[in-house]
Amino acid sequence: MSRHDKSDRVTRRDFLRGAAYGSLGLAMGVEGLARAGQGSAFAAEKPLSQVVLVRNEAAVDASHRVNAEVVAEMLDTAMKTFTGEGEVAKALRRYFRPQDNVGIKYTRCAWHRIHVNQAVIDALTDRLVASGVAKSRVTATDYGLPVKDCTALINVPSVKVHAITGIAVSIKNYINLTGRESSYHYEGSSKLGEAWLLPEVKGKTRLIVVDMLRPYFGPGPQINPVHQWDYKGILVGTDPVAIDTVCLSICQKKRNLFKGEEWLISPPPRSLAAADSVYHLGTSDPTKIKLTRLGWEKEQLT
């Protein structure tokens, strides 16, 4: 993925024609990329990956306060729908055994303030314990997760458009497991997928739960409150690339809505394309993803 050879240069034109970065342009709704016969975005009949989105209008109030009870219900609905199980405990037992040491890797970027809400972490921990994993075996943190000691990981990111990376969701959430965070901000952060292949990380991620209650769509680097909105969503899946692609699509539509015209997420998230084509962590092709949408429909944007 290194682009030191300038003949490999990707221009805006390449991207807008769909000739670079895989299907990202399609996911971002770039005009002219819809291809006949390839199916609609996020409606795959024989999907490679499935994602469940649950929204609830009561999850965040007018003062932007998160309702923990509602969030817990949303998580339950998402888990049951994703697995097809009637009970949350059964759903979680598909992924976690009582003898697992489970690491919940969430995002709490102090300076940016687009955190995973505590209500999401608490609900997830409570349900994990209720499913049979002892509380002493569950570690939830952003920095300092003892990954080597974990036998299973749950990736719990927030959602933010990012000035260097394009978008930061589940793939970027593991950046601080590398111990070399700043080194991943070059070449469009295209090597972020490496974090998932570290020996102590590889193959351990059993579940991804995205806090999309109050995502961020602005240019950053710091938060401008007018670029944060109460989407009031929780997403569940197991494919980080598919989940990030869904979030990318929603954020792109929100940006367009905000400006009243196309406002492309920029730079395009090379890390997402590379996570698919180079690191093979999942699919970024929206025509191969099935998104199940539940709950509040206003400005669903997908």
């Binding site: 300038k6 240069r9 260097i164 401008n224 920029s266 730079p267």
Partner: protein, 299 residues
């Protein structure tokens, strides 16, 4: 040994703060009942990532020198964080201010924007961000008062980049103007390519602006290089890699996808490039106006 290390640590921190007091702005201790809470923090080009890992690149893309961060607290009220960014020049203070142009214009410093508990302004070599945890009517009043106090402490105004005068005024969407140096900034506002085909660097100056021309909304990019040869190289590279057409003279225009036109013109050590113009005529006209204005611009 432990006591020594603690003393050493305190000494280093005290030195850092004292250094800040001597060379940076003096911030008020109290405003509208909000009082300084905790120690000031100072960050340099070398330590900016300790303050905002994953965001420092945007400040380093300008000639950022130092950041002073202070927190203010008041009982039963949202906290306020004051950040004062000292840049090497007023041009760069203006430039980092234009990184995010969304907000309501207010009258603080030389230019200011307010949005839901965030006040940003620039004056002389300083870019200031004042952000509250939440917005209330009291918070807004306090932010404005704090901003005005800080702005008053900056004795003089600074010059905007002279390159701004190269922008043709007709049809200019003013909040869309971004001033910057490198491709890191360009690609946040308008992704052009992933390999810096215009050879932007700390020594180049660039302005990106959006225009409304009837139903068309072209983007105009003006770049000034240190030397004419730099502009010539970049222009040829742009023609070959982006337009897939080598410039035969000082200008080149091409019809691209969606029937839109892109192209540009080289004028000594500057380039005027246009993207997403609705017709060849409108592309050439906008670039021509910019090119003629560029001749009168002195650094």
């Amino acid at each position: 040994m432990r006591a020594f290390l603690i003393l050493l640590g305190l000494s280093v921190f005290a030195t850092e703060v004292a250094h800040a007091d001597e060379n940076m702005l003096r911030l008020p201790q109290e405003v509208q009942g909000w009082k300084t809470d905790g120690q000031d923090k100072v960050f340099t080009r070398q330590t900016i990532f300790e303050y905002m890992d994953g965001g420092g690149e945007i400040y380093l893309a300008y000639d950022f020198q130092r950041l002073l961060a202070r927190e203010y607290a008041r009982d039963n009220a949202p906290r306020i964080v004051a950040e004062v960014y000292q840049m090497a020049s007023s041009r760069d203070a203006y430039g980092i201010f234009t990184h995010d142009t969304d907000g309501q214009p207010v009258s603080v410093g030389q230019m200011a924007l307010y949005s839901a508990g965030l006040l940003r302004f620039w004056k002389d070599r300083f870019f200031v961000r004042l952000q509250a945890e939440d917005e209330t009517a009291e918070v807004k009043t306090a932010l404005m008062a704090l901003g005005e106090r800080i702005a008053l402490g900056i004795p003089q105004d600074g010059r905007k980049p002279s390159l701004l005068s190269a922008l043709p005024p007709q049809g200019l969407i003013q909040p869309s103007v971004h001033y910057f140096h490198t491709s890191v900034s360009l690609n946040v506002h308008y992704f052009l390519d992933d390999s810096n085909l215009l050879n932007l660097n700390a020594g180049t100056e660039a302005i990106l602006a959006h225009y409304q021309q009837g139903s068309d909304k072209p983007h105009l990019l003006i770049v000034r290089y240190p030397r004419p040869g730099d502009a010539k190289t970049a222009f040829e590279q742009f023609g070959k890699a982006y337009l897939r057409e080598s410039p035969t003279g000082n200008s080149v225009f091409r019809k691209l996808e969606k029937g839109q036109f892109a192209g540009g013109r080289r004028e000594e050590r500057s380039l005027a490039l246009v993207f997403e113009a609705g017709s060849r005529e409108s592309a050439e006209k906008l670039v021509g106006l910019a090119a003629s204005r560029m001749k009168g611009v002195t650094p």
